[in-house]
């Protein structure tokens, strides 16, 4: 039934659309002679109408027949079936009448109906102005002016209509397609679709429906008058409009309440859900822990105090820099806790990450206003504090309750043995990262890759990244102010003394870092440059040590990459952005890309050799200098990790460090048209799309 319904309804919609496209109206009173002008459309309409009426041999007939049959043999209470049956019958009669009227009105050539209110096609016409206000004064559409339609518009309707015919003639096809889900209906045996089922009560009903329907159509003016007398207050049309208007109002009201457009509001709801949902369940359904200890090691207390004080002060701080430094302290406090807990790898990584974060934050924040904007938040402050405390308490509850619920042995008890026997490493954390859970790590470095490209796309905007800057690229930039790379106080004489200009005359300052000359002298520090010069290579060597020793000692690709990153940070801080280019004359995108390619690619190699993805192998080698070497293939994976981390830090330095320097200098020197610092240039549509804005 539904399938058939869809076919004829869709056809009718399409037909109406086609008629509208051709004549510019859908008002039955104005249409005439369309059938002659659009024979195909009319045919499709006729077929669909016939199907809707339930005229054999169309799909609608087959379906309706089946429905009637089903109702005649229904299993519910007798009166329900009877009501349902007769509703269907009466409904079908009316359908027959209005369908005929629809088709007749739309396609036949005729004089206009005498002032009849148009209601039959109401559901088809949601938009055209109707109702008593619009008497059918408008002229009939001139059949001669009906435009021919593109095939594309007519074809689907015709196809669907014909499909209806086909399905009617070959009902088993439809049944086969539909049977699987018809069979899943909870009640009743699956109905069967047949075109001719013999002289059944259903057939009699169908005939009855058709006869009454045609009768109604024939006597349509009388019926319409009867309808009008029955139904004049309130006009269904007006009522419909009122309901819709009311609906729109309610929709707007509800949306205005739920969809506030405010980020803190959204977050507040989620956090409240966090504190109240799991929090309350925990309070209600679990018991207070019966065993507690103050600390594992007393030194933890000091670190925890530092963390608490720092984070509370950070939350209160109105100065950006102060807040950032305090957060950094909290981070280092975490590192101490890791170390005390017996997690040296974690502590090492945390310290390195915290350092990089701190530097990068300072690099960016020096461009932002020093204070957070002052906003009248006094009222909401208590709300935020309340939510914060509630979440904090809920988390403390989780931390107290969950560990004591454990009854099973953790899977990590198997780690030491298997890490050594199958992973070939003594540092279990590192083996976990590059072997046991290498799949995680592979995902993680792809996160880094995505984040790095994201940073670059936000800072460089249109161009993924400029060229790698070298010392030779440094240009003399003159400007009204001597705003140097470090954005210090304006120094009237600085412009004269800056980069390149004083190149030859200052030989003693140009030795240690080749790009040091590009900095304004008041920003240079010989000691810093010397220290950097000395330190840089030792740091690189240390990083390589961490990388290669990581499998058995604390270290590994992450730590090594971060150490190299910090070495680059130092070079950049000492020598400016050109020095960065000197230190790492390579594009970060290439490092990131190759790193991920290496790690994921190494993972695929074992597949080709008949092993499992990311499977490692232990290779025993005897090398001339090192003697006996046990090489685990995960080293290559770790090198990929290393490359990605270096690429990330380099990318961050080039964007949030060097590029922001450059944009800041340009801003200080006055804008150059078409440069990124011009906010408007950022509004050009980007390549991938945005489409047309």
């Amino acid at each position: 039934m539904i399938g058939a319904h869809a076919m004829f309804k869709a056809t009718l919609f399409l037909v109406v659309g086609a008629v509208d496209a051709a004549t510019g109206t859908r008002d039955l009173r104005r249409l005439t002679g369309v059938g002659r002008a659009l024979p195909w459309t009319a045919t499709a309409g006729a077929l669909a109408t016939a199907s809707m009426i339930g005229l054999p041999p169309l799909a609608g007939y087959v379906a309706k027949e089946a429905a009637l049959e089903g109702l005649l043999h229904g299993q519910g209470p007798a009166w329900v079936d009877a009501v349902a049956l007769w509703s269907v019958v009466v409904g079908s009669m009316l359908t027959t009448a209005y369908s005929l009227r629809f088709w007749w009105g739309a396609f036949s050539s005729h004089k206009r109906f005498a002032g009849a209110p148009v209601r039959a096609n109401e559901h088809l016409d949601l938009r055209a102005p109707r109702g008593p206000a619009v008497e059918p004064e408008e002229p009939l559409v001139d059949p001669a002016r009906i435009k021919p339609l593109p095939v594309l518009l007519v074809a689907p309707a015709v196809v669907l209509a014909v499909l209806g015919l086909v399905v009617g003639l070959v009902p088993h096809l439809g049944e086969e397609l539909l049977q699987p889900y018809a069979a899943s209906y909870p009640t009743g045996e699956p109905g069967h679709l047949v075109l001719w089922a013999g002289l059944t009560p259903a057939l009699a009903l169908t005939v009855l429906i058709l006869v009454v329907g045609v009768l109604l159509f024939w006597q349509r003016s009388r019926v319409e008058r009867f309808q009008a007398s029955l139904w004049h207050v309130p006009e269904a049309d007006v009522a419909y409009r009122r309901v819709m208007r009311r609906l729109d109002d309610v929709a707007a009201d509800v949306t205005a309440v739920t969809q506030r457009g405010s980020l803190p509001f959204y977050l507040g709801i989620m956090l409240l859900a966090l504190a109240l949902g799991p929090g309350l369940v925990m309070v209600v359904q679990t018991s207070w822990p019966d065993q507690l200890k103050a600390w594992d090691r007393p030194a933890q207390l000091a670190a925890v105090l530092a963390i608490c004080v720092a984070s509370v002060l950070a939350a209160r701080s109105r100065r950006r820099l102060k807040a950032v430094v305090l957060i950094g302290i909290a981070g280092y406090g975490n590192a101490v806790l890791f170390l005390l807990h017996g997690a040296p790898d974690l502590a090492l990584t945390q310290v390195l990450v915290e350092t990089v974060t701190l530097v990068v934050m300072v690099l960016v924040l020096r461009r932002l206003p020093p204070y957070f904007s002052d906003r009248p938040l006094a009222a909401s402050r208590w709300v935020r504090l309340g939510i914060g405390v509630a979440v904090g308490v809920a988390m403390m509850g989780l931390a107290l309750v969950a560990p004591l619920a454990r009854v099973a042995v953790p899977i990590s008890v198997d780690f030491p043995e298997e890490a050594y026997a199958w992973g070939g490493g003594k540092n279990i954390v590192n083996v976990t990262l590059v072997d046991i859970r290498a799949w995680d790590t592979m995902g993680e470095i792809s996160v880094l890759l995505a984040a790095a490209t994201g940073v670059a796309s936000l800072v460089f905007l249109r161009v993924r990244s400029g060229e790698v800057l070298r010392t030779a690229d440094a240009r003399v930039v003159r400007g009204p102010q001597g705003q140097g790379i470090w954005g210090g106080e304006p120094d009237p004489g600085a412009a004269l003394r800056r980069r390149g200009v004083t190149d030859e005359s200052q030989p003693r300052m140009s030795v240690w870092l080749s790009a040091g000359r590009t900095l304004a002298p008041q920003r240079r520090s010989v000691i810093f440059e010397v220290v950097t010069r000395v330190l840089f290579h030792s740091m690189i060597v240390f990083a390589l040590f961490l990388l290669f020793a990581g499998h058995n000692n604390p270290g590994g690709g992450f730590a090594a990459g971060l150490v190299v990153g910090i070495a680059l940070v130092v070079r950049y801080l000492a020598g400016g952005r050109y020095e960065l280019g000197e230190a790492a004359p390579v594009h970060p995108g290439i490092l990131l890309g190759l790193g991920l390619f290496l790690s994921a690619g190494v993972g695929l190699v074992p597949l080709l050799l008949g092993g499992s993805v990311l499977q490692s192998a232990i290779i025993d080698l005897t090398l001339p200098v090192f003697g006996h070497v046990k090489l685990v293939t995960t080293l290559f994976f770790d090198i990929g990790v290393f490359l990605v981390v270096v690429g990330l830090v380099l990318d961050i330095l080039r964007t949030l460090g060097a590029e922001i320097d450059r944009q800041g200098e340009r801003a200080a020197l006055g804008r150059e048209p078409g440069e990124d610092t011009d906010p408007l240039s950022a509004l050009e549509p980007d390549a991938i799309g945005g489409g047309r804005r």
């Binding site: 980020l263 792809s446 796309s457 905007l461």
Partner: protein, 521 residues
Amino acid sequence: MDLVEVSKALVPLPVALPLVAAGLTLALWRHPRAQRIITATTLAVVLGVSVVLLVAADGGPVVVDVGEWAAPVGIDLIADRLSALMLTVSSFVMLCVLLYSLAQGVADGDDETPVAIYHPTFMVLAAGVFNAFLSGDLFNLYVGFEIFLAASYVLLTLGGTGERIRAGSIYVVVALLSSIIFLVAIAVTYAATGTVNLAQLSERFAEIDPGVATTIQLLLLLAFGIKAALFPLSAWLPDSYPTAPAPVTAVFAGLLTKVGVYAIIRTQTLLFPGGRLDDLLLWLALATMIVGILGAVAQNDIKRLLSFTLVSHIGFMIFGIALASEPGMAAAVFYVVHHITVQTTLFLVVGLVERRGGSTSLDRLGGLAKLAPGLAILFFVPAMNLAGIPPLSGFLGKLGLLEEGVAQGTPLTWALVVGSVVTSLLTLYAIVKAWNKAFWQTPPVEIPESVRLPRGMVGPATALVAFGVALTVVAGPLYAYTERAAATLLDGHTYVDAVFPDGSGRGQGVSSDVAEEGEGS
């Protein structure tokens, strides 16, 4: 080699190949042509792999212990019917979107570099989504989420316009919070059970204090609910999605929320059978449907309107999940498949509408039915599908849900049944409104007579429309497949038995054997 052996080798590919491609395309950022070939080929291969897995998974879940680390110690990837189905649909959809966006880039004459980061990021997005579908490990599921979230941050803020930064800020911060909640949930899970392997968790959650288990269930539901845009955690979505470029919005709308839904299905059925939260889920589903669709009615921009229908229809899927019966779950899975397709299609077509009509605001569009009849059909078919007009797939999914809601017959499920019908009607109302405005009204603003839509963009959109219709044609077999998928989801042991084959509590990886040998010698 038989199908099982082959498919075992194939399981990691949907994640690993896109990642290799991501690395390669980023390293080749100067060569847009090579990038295009690599990404398109990769997704096509993944689609092929998915289809094989779809067939293989019908014979039982395909499990791989990554790196031969036997399961609870290492990470296992598992393609059961649900995963394979999601994988297939999403890889097909992503391929279409990729082709569409390539054509868009070419048509806009921008062989320039932002495309250079588009490709790697898109690949990372794909890898993340596929990883989430395949992962058999809770923490790895988190990593999968982070992968595609990271990529989505980049794609959403592409170009860095003011509008996108604002929308991006809302999106990113909300997603970061949901990630933290997920992380907390994992920490608490490990604290309580000592494992993060899903199969093992399903055994261990039954053993611990039910109060703690319920707490964790709620935490996970909260984390995934934010991603799936479940009311009242849904408000971020309509604010952030519509500003992105059309193909990006299409992928986000089609896939990202469904990953959340997938995660809800997986965790609620596998980890927490017994339906402690089913009533809560039913309420949430009802609220999501109604509030979402009222939001859609209130909008007058097609993209926003569609975003609200997206939220609203998540309610249908949650409805099916909360029914916690095979027919309900089957209908929900079917609905997910339908909705991925139709929502992506609509956003792509709206991208075409935007290109043709110069706007997505209904106050500025009009008369497109005459100007671009082909486009009208492309919009009309999926729009009617979304509204649930029979016999399209949307209708079939809804029908399944209603049947089961009626069959369960509690007052709450009846409320949901009524709510679903109302939502369907309102969806139809909203969609018809958009249809009338954009395609039939006299254009309020002059719309150029002839704008050629690039064939490369129309092609994929048409393919998706056809795919949506095809879902109806193959509805019988597909529905049967989702019924089998639902059966395995709910029987509670197929998944676990597949991960730990001989009841030993360890996976097929050889690491445990090696370790034991080592101990013996």
